[in-house]
C-alpha cells in the first residue's frame, strides 16, 4: 500500500467508532459504519492533508466514495490534475 492510501486509511480510522477494524482497498465505506456527516468530515480531513479540493455533495450517490480504493483513486486523480495544472502554470 502506498503513501496516499496509508494516509487515507489513517484518516478513515480517526473517524470510525471501532478503529481496530481491518481495512483494505476493497473495504466498502458503509462496512466501516461511515455515514454522510462522517464523510463530510473525512473529505475535509483529506482536503486538508493533501492540500486539494474534492467536489463532494452529500445529496448525491458518489461512486468515488464507495470503497476505500475508490477514494484513494479519486484523491490520486485530483493530485495528478493539480500537479499538471501547476506544471502548466
Amino acid at each position: 500500500m502506498d503513501d496516499v492510501a496509508e494516509k487515507i486509511i489513517a484518516i478513515l480510522r480517526k473517524n470510525m467508532r471501532n478503529q481496530e477494524k481491518e481495512i483494505t482497498l476493497n473495504t466498502k465505506l458503509t462496512d466501516l459504519e461511515i455515514e454522510s456527516l462522517d464523510l463530510a468530515v473525512i473529505v475535509f480531513d483529506i482536503e486538508d492533508t493533501f492540500g486539494i479540493q474534492i467536489p463532494y455533495n452529500a445529496n448525491e450517490e458518489m461512486v468515488d466514495f464507495a470503497t476505500v480504493g475508490s477514494v484513494v483513486e479519486r484523491v490520486k486523480a485530483v493530485l495528478a490534475e493539480q500537479n499538471a495544472s501547476n506544471a502548466a502554470a
Partner: protein
C-alpha cells in the same frame, strides 16, 4: 372571554413576512402564486473562493422604511427582518401600537443563529484588521433574543417575551408555544415566529463544508434535487384568543388548531420517520381532526436526499391511503430554506392557501425523486377547496414541530 384554559381558541389575525420573493405578504404571495423563485447569485458580499455561489437573498428591503425605531435600524439584519415582519402582522391585525393591554401579550420570536453577520464583521475587525475595539453595539446585535426584545419595545408587549432556538423548527416552535399560552389562558395576544439572516461568507463556508447545499437550485422531492439553498428573512404571525379578536371586530384570517412537537433523539443529520410522524399525529389530535381532513401539507421539503425521502415516508405513515389525495408542496423551491424563519414563512403560506383555495407549487420539478411518490404539486399551483392545512418543520438534531390550521369559522 374565558380567562382559564377551558374552551379558548386561537385566531390568526395578522401575518408578516420578509423573503427573497417579497418583503411583505402581498408581494410574497403574488410570487408564490405565479411560481416565481428568488434564488440567484449571491451579491451582498464578495464570494472569494466559495464554490456554492447561490442563495435566496432579500433584496427589496430598506430598514429605514420598514423599521420604526433607530435602535432597530442600527441592529443586525435578523432583527430588522423580524421588526418589519412584526409591524406588518400587527398592522394587519388592527391592534393598536403600543398594545393597550401589553401585560396580557406575549412575543415569542426566535432565530436559528442570531446576528451572525455582525459576529463575522466583529471577528474580521479584530483578527484581520487588528482594530482596537469592536463596534459598541456588537454584543446587542448578535444576541439571538435581540429581535424579540425590539418587537416588545416596538409594540409595548409586557408579558412573556423570549426567543426559541431549534434550527429549522425555530419559528414553528415559537408559534406553537404562543398558541399554547393563549389556549392555556396566560395571554390573549401573541406575536410569534422567527427571523434569520445567515447568508454571509463565514456561514456559507460552514454550510458548504457540510456538503448539503446545491450548487444550482432548490428542487425539493424531484429527481434532480442535489441539496438545499439558503434563504433568509422572517415569518411572523399575530395570534389572538378567538373571543378577544371577535370582540374588537378583527378579521380572522385562520384558526390555529393544533401543534405537535417531538424529538427523534437519534441522530444530528439523519432524520427518522417516527419523530416527524408523531409530531404530525399530535398536532392532528389536538386539532381534533382525522388525517383525511387535511387537504394541503406545506412540507419541510429541503431538497436534501435525507429529508425528502424521510418526510415522504412519515407523511405516508400518518395519512395512510389519504396520502395520495393530499396536496403537498415545498415552497422552499421558491423562497429557499429560511432556516429558523422557515416555519413562520410557511405558516403564512398555509393561511393564504386556505384563504384563497390555492395550492402553491413545488417549482423546478423535473421528475419524481427516488421514493418520492406523493402529489407534490409539480411546477404549477392550482385551485382546490382547502379545509385544513398542515405546516411541517423538521430540524437538524431531529427536532420536529408541526402546526395545523383551519378556516376562520367552523
Amino acid at each position: 372571554m374565558a380567562l382559564n384554559g377551558k374552551g379558548r381558541r386561537v385566531a390568526v389575525t395578522g401575518m408578516g413576512v420578509v423573503t427573497c420573493i417579497g418583503a411583505n405578504v402581498e408581494k410574497f404571495w403574488a410570487a408564490i402564486k405565479s411560481g416565481t423563485h428568488g434564488i440567484g447569485a449571491i451579491e451582498s458580499f464578495p464570494l472569494h473562493d466559495l464554490y456554492i455561489k447561490i442563495g435566496g437573498e432579500v433584496r427589496d428591503f430598506d430598514p429605514n422604511e420598514r423599521c420604526k425605531s433607530k435602535a432597530v435600524i442600527l441592529s443586525d439584519r435578523f432583527s430588522q427582518y423580524a421588526s418589519a415582519a412584526a409591524y406588518e402582522a400587527v398592522q394587519q391585525s388592527g391592534l393598536e401600537t403600543p398594545f393597550k393591554n401589553g401585560e396580557r401579550a406575549a412575543a415569542i420570536v426566535g432565530s436559528g443563529a442570531g446576528g451572525l453577520s455582525t459576529l463575522e464583521k466583529a471577528y474580521e475587525d479584530i483578527f484581520v484588521h487588528k482594530k482596537k475595539a469592536t463596534h459598541p453595539l456588537t454584543l446587542l446585535r448578535i444576541i439571538g433574543s435581540t429581535a424579540v426584545a425590539h418587537i416588545s419595545i416596538d409594540h409595548g408587549i409586557k408579558g412573556p417575551v423570549f426567543g426559541t432556538v431549534s434550527a429549522c423548527s425555530t419559528a414553528a416552535h415559537a408559534i406553537g408555544l404562543a398558541f399554547q399560552m393563549i389556549k392555556g389562558g396566560s395571554v390573549d395576544v401573541a406575536v410569534a415566529g422567527a427571523s434569520e439572516a445567515a447568508i454571509n461568507y463565514g456561514s456559507m463556508r460552514a454550510w458548504q463544508a457540510m456538503r448539503v447545499l446545491s450548487p444550482d437550485g432548490c428542487y425539493p422531492f424531484s429527481k434532480r434535487r442535489n441539496g438545499t439553498v439558503l434563504g433568509e428573512g422572517a415569518g411572523i404571525l399575530v395570534l389572538e384568543e378567538m373571543e378577544h379578536a371577535k370582540a374588537r371586530g378583527a378579521t380572522i384570517l385562520a384558526e390555529l388548531l393544533g401543534f405537535g412537537m417531538t424529538s427523534d433523539a437519534s441522530d444530528m443529520v439523519n432524520p427518522d420517520i417516527d419523530g416527524p410522524a408523531r409530531a404530525m399525529q399530535i398536532a392532528l389530535a389536538e386539532a381534533n381532526l382525522a388525517p383525511g381532513d387535511i387537504d394541503y401539507v406545506n412540507a419541510h421539503g429541503t431538497a436534501t436526499s435525507a429529508n425528502d425521502i424521510n418526510e415522504t415516508r412519515a407523511i405516508k405513515k400518518v395519512f395512510g391511503a389519504h396520502a395520495n389525495r393530499l396536496s403537498v408542496s415545498s415552497t422552499k423551491s421558491m423562497h429557499g430554506h429560511c432556516l429558523g424563519a422557515a416555519g413562520g414563512v410557511e405558516a403564512a403560506v398555509c393561511v393564504q392557501a386556505m384563504r384563497e383555495g390555492f395550492i402553491p407549487a413545488t417549482i423546478g420539478f423535473d421528475a419524481p425523486g427516488n421514493e418520492c411518490d406523493l402529489d407534490y404539486t409539480p411546477n404549477e399551483g392550482r385551485h382546490r377547496d382547502i379545509g385544513y392545512t398542515m405546516s411541517n418543520s423538521f430540524a437538524f438534531g431531529g427536532l420536529n414541530a408541526v402546526l395545523v390550521f383551519g378556516p376562520p369559522s367552523n
